[in-house]
Amino acid sequence: AQSVTQLDSQVPVFEEAPVELRCNYSSSVSVYLFWYVQYPNQGLQLLLKYLSGSTLVESINGFEAEFNKSQTSFHLRKPSVHISDTAEYFCAVTPMNRDDKIIFGKGTRLHILP
């Protein structure tokens, strides 16, 4: 079985400051890892994913996440946040070769302070 833990339910951060949203997972099999973003009153958008290869993956809007197998973590980072980054961020895992099964964390609400 798999589980995903997002350690912070809310993260306040000042505009232009760096941010890290933490995600740890547990699984007895190899997994793919994802971060999804949900802007206010919208659906989920895939932000970035790790399937294989380089453990550092990047999104088009400046976020990056690093897969750390030994620590079973997939933390999301951005060096300088903007007010438009205000959203709920969900970490998720899928067992390899099981597209029908995705496990979400409880989400982290990112508050950008002016």
Partner: protein, 112 residues
């Protein structure tokens, strides 16, 4: 990636009525999924809908309450039947791809 649309985007319904939500994908996909997101919560899988077979429901969800159709490889519907205020949620469809899922924009349902 897949482009997924849902109708309606939002609705306000009366207790005891039913609402059918449509999900359209711009490409043929084998697996489609329906999720519920209650206020302030993460996503909960309702059922998996594969074309040509009965939907598979997760624990706590039943066909009588959430009937699903999957008539072809690009379309599915979810009906929320005999609604109560506890059914007020965002309902999202998603499609599977190699290594994950893409989600539609969601249907925001309020039951009075």
């Amino acid at each position: 990636s897949a482009v997924i649309s849902q109708k309606p985007s939002r609705d306000i319904c009366q207790r005891g009525t039913s609402l059918t939500i449509q999900c359209q994908v711009d490409s043929q996909v084998t697996m489609m999924f329906w999720y519920r997101q209650q206020p302030g919560q993460s996503l909960t899988l309702i059922a998996t809908a594969n074309q040509g077979s009965e939907a598979t429901y997760e624990s706590g969800f039943v066909i009588d309450k959430f009937p699903i159709s999957r008539p072809n490889l690009t379309f599915s519907t979810l009906t929320v039947s005999n609604m109560s205020p506890e059914d007020s949620s965002i309902y999202l469809c998603s499609v599977g791809f190699s290594g994950g899922q893409y989600f539609g924009p969601g249907t925001r349902l309020t039951v009075l």
